[in-house]
């Protein structure tokens, strides 16, 4: 029986996508550490003279960011989310991807390539995968590291929403030019201790980039995700294009979100470990 050639390719894809899948608000870079990626986009510090005279506090920036996304009321109204799109790494590697999120911390990710669909699921405290790309025909628990990261990232609305109530802390760390646009640089320390840097466009107040450090095979890797092509669904702005890169790697992984469904019905069993003992 001929072994399907794309499997080897997809094994690395799946690992990358799994990381992508388990984070909030599409393509959380903190989970994309396994992603094949490339160097970070060019950035440059914005000279102090270029900054507006009316400086904003970090709280005000976050407030404006929430307003730009559509407002806290609409963001909090999101109970479930389904995103469907395409993931590419170079022109010759494309997979179809679907991600489903459900409060408080559930996620399900499916990747399809050459007629084969793998599934990765987490409820925020534990996770499992059914990954034919690894030759598996039955569910297996997710590695501890993946579950830990999933739990850290199991926040459907992102860490800046109600950051204080969630136990995170934030600080303004200056401004930078991201791809030619001025952006506020916010240092976020999660309740778990994890850190990330969020870049908020100084004009649109939408998130344009997130930097984080992840441990990959015991080695710290700087991961950068840039966001673009924002469009609103149910009154909330979502990025439709995400690009993920890692320090020192030439590859870039891109996700194009073709469809976003806000509050689709998602049954609880979509996030439950399948019971193989049942017929």
């Amino acid at each position: 029986m001929k072994r399907f050639a794309s499997v080897l390719l997809v094994r690395s894809y799946a690992a990358a996508v799994l990381a992508l899948a388990l984070g909030p608000a599409l393509a959380d870079p903190a989970l994309a550490a396994n992603a094949p990626a490339t160097g970070a986009p060019k950035t440059a510090a914005v000279p102090a003279a270029a900054a507006p005279s009316t400086a904003l506090t970090v709280e005000q920036i976050v407030e404006k960011h929430m307003a730009a996304r559509g407002g806290l009321k609409k963001i909090r109204a999101i109970q479930t989310l389904r995103e469907t799109g395409r993931m590419t790494e170079g022109p010759d590697k494309q997979a179809l991807v679907t991600r489903e999120l459900k409060r408080p911390a559930q996620s399900r990710f499916e990747i399809t390539l050459q007629g084969v669909t793998g599934v990765f699921v987490s409820d925020g405290t534990k996770g499992w995968k059914l990954n034919p790309f690894d030759g598996d025909f039955e569910p297996k628990p997710l590695p501890e590291e993946a579950v830990r990261e999933a739990a850290e990232q199991a926040d459907i609305e992102g860490p800046l929403v109600d950051w204080k109530a969630k136990g995170h802390s934030i600080a303004l760390a200056g401004r930078e030019s991201i791809n030619g646009r001025d952006a506020y640089k916010i240092q976020v320390t999660l309740k778990s201790g994890g850190t990330r840097t969020e870049y908020i466009d100084a004009k649109t107040f939408l998130r344009v980039r997130v930097d984080s450090t992840r441990t990959v095979k015991g080695h710290p890797v700087q991961v950068t995700a840039t966001f673009g092509d924002y469009k609103k669904s149910a009154g909330v702005a979502f990025p439709r294009q995400v690009e993920i890169s890692a320090s020192g790697r030439p590859q870039k992984m891109r996700v194009v979100v073709d469809k976003i469904e806000v509050n689709p019905p998602l049954a609880a069993d979509r996030f439950a470990m399948v019971d193989l003992s049942k017929p």
Binding site: S12, L113, Q114, G118, L130, G248, P250, V274
Partner: protein, 248 residues
């Protein structure tokens, strides 16, 4: 010839949502989509367009039969002439939208027969243009000074850091393993001493052949205790997953 090519492209763009494939759905939600080739009580085989996959029926939740994108691709491919580069281009794009990479590559190769320097078709086959010539992605990485470590391309500096981290991790694991073995040897020695003492005491009381533990010491992996379903302890005192002892 331009008009027919455009018409072909339009049909291809409209068609995907109408298509359904043979689908083999696994318990747990994963699935295979393509063309079912055979099915028995124990095994089902499905052609996914890049090979044939055999799936144990015990793992199958259900089988749904339909007209597959793979069938559609083949039907449309047969309708194209070798010289219809735009037709092949449109078909390749459609195959890509269906996740049929092997077919997208095949279509790209057809385009290159007519247009050898076509950037889209070259890209679809993984070529990148560097310094004025086409090369594979890997060749371009090499040319730019990247090295491959664990399947990943990275800068030499990054590779050195990764390898240093891996070596450090390995050293920690080796030290832990040596410590565990030493501890296990110590425990085993104590157990042997205890057992010897016990046997000597029992030998004076009962027939030794009725009480000797058949799994103790020296058989196979030398199980010294009753194996659990999860792990067994080897004669070296290390605990290993049972699937390493009795691989399926």
């Amino acid at each position: 010839m331009k008009a027919p090519a455009v018409a072909t492209a339009a049909v291809l763009l409209l068609a995907p949502s109408l298509l359904r494939a043979d689908e083999v759905l696994l318990k747990g939600g994963a699935k295979f989509s393509g063309r079912i080739e055979s099915q028995t009580d124990t095994m089902i085989t499905i052609n996914i367009g890049d090979g044939v996959v055999g799936v144990p029926m015990a793992r199958v939740d259900k089988v749904v039969k339909g007209h597959s994108p793979l069938d559609e691709y083949e039907t449309r491919a047969k309708a194209l002439t070798e010289q219809d580069a735009e037709g092949w281009r449109a078909l390749g794009r459609w195959a890509n939208s269906q996740g049929l990479q092997a077919q997208a590559r095949e279509a790209a190769r057809k385009v290159l027969v007519v247009l050898p320097d076509d950037p889209e078709a070259r890209g679809a086959l993984g070529y990148v243009k560097q310094d004025g010539r086409w090369m594979t992605e890997e060749e371009s990485y090499k040319a730019r000074g990247y090295v491959q470590v664990g399947g990943e391309w990275m800068t030499r500096a990054e590779a050195q850091q990764v390898q240093a981290s891996a070596a450090a991790e390995q050293a920690v694991q080796d030290a832990e393993r040596r410590a565990n073995l030493a501890e296990a040897d110590k425990i085993l020695a104590e157990q042997r001493a205890d057992k010897a003492e016990e046997r000597a005491r029992e030998a004076e009381e009962v027939d030794p052949w009725t009480t000797m533990s058949p799994w103790y010491g020296g058989y196979g992996y030398g199980v010294v205790g009753w194996p659990s379903t999860a792990t067994v302890t080897t004669r070296y005192g290390t605990t290993v997953p049972i699937n390493k002892v009795n691989p399926k």
